[in-house]
């Protein structure tokens, strides 16, 4: 093998809307190895969460990621309600699922657009984003904001969806469905998209299992993993729907899974709306006076996969420990399988295919040391730090004896 050339993508690359750095090590046109560097987005959210009350944490976790800004409050609410042992009302469940599914539609449309943009096919980008607008308008009508909805709280939701709004919502949804038909037809039949995405960035079923990938990335390779079915929460056990899978594992299969999932989402929303009509208006909250001591885990299916929140409560009004794992954190590791051996042009769409969301994924990468200046904490340093702490604790324990 000849000399390898390093092609950097990022950190502030016009193709990506978020800062992250990919290093493609190439031999001619072929990618031989890939490394990535994140940390440009780190905001120490887990630490901040410990200084906020349970009601405030919802606004914080919503801002982990703007695109899947319901899945994080969803998982956090599931975790806190597990600690408190609260069962929310049916109406609150329907509203939660409604918001979650509407968000999935907007996120998948956004991805289809961005994937078109990554292929250099800007018509798809413009179309998908145009059809996404009615969904955002619907969000604004229901929640008051286009992106961060602030709908969740411990024990229910903040705002009701009045029953007199339901016909309008149905009308907008029918419109969205028509547009989705159009877009799906256009994307699925387009020979250019077929040529660029079929057989590109293949993840086999075994790769997905080895890398523990989640969400549409896993479902496109034939692994039917979906938290809404595996660990049902909110209104998902009350409605009928099916998990969409594909077998090929290439970029086209991922697009297919996402486009077909939008139909499932629309169907879930319609069933939620009928559920809302059956339940009493205004019955959206269970009063939770205090959060007892204990710990709880909450999971939710974000548009990108499983979101996991773990909360430890010490009986006070703010979490003692809050651990978050976002889906992109595991999905990004599959780049090692999907990108290597591809040409550079195909590598970019393979990177985009898992719908990576770096603002969810950030871990502390750089620590500032005032004495010696800037210091990069690599894996070895962190392991040393952690083992050092353990041995110190052990020493103290021995002294106590």
């Amino acid at each position: 093998m000849g000399k390898k050339t390093l092609i950097p993508i990022g950190p502030y690359h016009p193709l990506q809307e978020e800062p992250e750095l990919f290093k493609l090590f190439c031999d001619g046109e072929i990618v031989k190895d890939i490394k990535w560097e994140t940390g440009y987005n780190h905001r120490s959210i887990e630490k901040l969460s410990e200084s906020k009350t349970y009601d405030q944490v919802f606004f914080l976790v919503e801002r982990i990621c703007g695109i899947c800004s319901t899945s994080h409050p969803f998982a956090f609410a599931n975790a806190v309600e597990e600690i408190a042992g609260v069962e929310i009302t049916d109406r609150a469940k329907y509203i939660r699922s409604f918001i979650g599914e509407l968000e999935r539609i907007h996120s998948h449309l956004l991805w289809v657009g961005l994937a078109g943009h990554f292929l250099g096919y800007n018509t798809v980008f413009m179309w998908a984003w145009k059809y996404r607008e009615p969904v955002l308008d619907l969000f604004e009508m229901i929640t008051g904001n286009r992106n961060s909805y602030a709908m969740f709280r411990v024990g229910g939701v903040r705002r009701d969806i009045e029953n007199n709004k339901i016909p309008v919502i149905r009308k907008i949804l029918a419109d969205v469905k028509k547009k989705t038909d159009l877009l799906t037809g256009a994307v699925m039949d387009d020979p250019v998209i077929h040529a660029r995405t079929k057989g590109v960035g293949i993840l086999t079923k075994q790769d997905v299992i080895d890398y523990a990938a989640v969400g549409p990335t896993a479902r496109a390779s034939g692994v039917a993993i979906d938290i809404r079915k595996d660990d049902p929460y909110a209104a998902y056990p009350l409605v009928n729907w099916k998990v969409i899978t594909a077998e090929e594992g290439d970029v086209f299969a991922k697009a297919q899974v996402r486009l077909l999932e939008m139909y499932e989402s629309i169907s879930i929303i319609e069933q939620c709306l009928s559920g809302l009509e059956k339940t009493k208006e205004g019955d959206i909250n269970v009063v939770v006076k205090e959060i007892p001591e204990g710990s709880g885990a909450g999971r939710a299916e974000a548009p990108r996969g499983e979101v996991f929140h773990y909360v430890v409560s010490d009986g006070s009004n703010s979490p003692a420990r809050h651990k978050i794992r976002a889906p992109s954190y595991v999905n990004i590791a599959t780049f090692k399988k999907s990108c290597i051996g591809q040409t550079i042009a195909d590598a970019t769409i393979s990177l985009a295919a898992v719908d990576p969301c770096y603002c969810c994924t950030e871990r502390l990468a750089v620590a500032y040391d005032q004495k010696s200046g800037r210091k990069i904490w690599n894996a070895k340093d962190l392991i040393d730090l952690s083992t050092g702490k353990t041995s110190e604790l052990k020493k103290n324990l021995i002294q106590l004896k």
């Binding site: 809307e17 440009y40 987005n41 905001r43 990621c65 703007g66 984003w129 286009r146 969301c357």
Partner: protein
């Protein structure tokens, strides 16, 4: 009409710097360019390099890793350049002002010409802010 006014009279080319953001402002900026708002009809174009840009949009709270890179990008910009801080995080740090990796809001690092608050600001607000800025100059 001064030289600066002359520079900003016609098509504004925009470079977007996303700091430690939650993606909301980023997608709303992209939203401005898509058919509903379609800023490209006014000649406003998102460009790939700061060396081609007239306006630098900065959003997100700036963390320690971003800080020097933002300065570097600002120094590479051809003058005159307009800097717009977008969103609550860009203006003040917002929810993340207490974060341990926070390195100051945008105006502590580079001079800012306009602030567009909101979490996230609507595309209309972003367009309104830029129009105001251009009219003032």
């Amino acid at each position: 009409m001064g030289f600066k006014n002359f520079c900003f009279k016609k098509s504004l080319w925009v470079f977007h710097f996303g700091g430690a953001s939650c993606n909301n402002c980023d997608i709303e900026i992209l939203d401005c360019l898509t058919p509903k708002h379609d800023l490209e009809r006014f000649g406003i174009l998102l460009v790939g390099s700061i060396r081609h840009a007239d306006v630098l949009l900065v959003n997100g709270s700036i963390n320690m890793k971003d800080k020097n890179r933002l300065l570097e990008i600002y120094n590479q910009a051809p003058r005159p350049i307009l800097v717009v801080a977008i969103g609550a995080c860009g203006c003040t740090g917002g929810l993340f002002a207490d974060s341990i990796t926070f390195a100051g809001p945008v105006d502590k690092i580079i001079p800012v010409d306009a602030y567009i608050p909101g979490c996230p600001p609507k595309p209309e607000a972003i367009i309104g802010g830029i129009v105001k800025l251009v009219n003032k100059k």
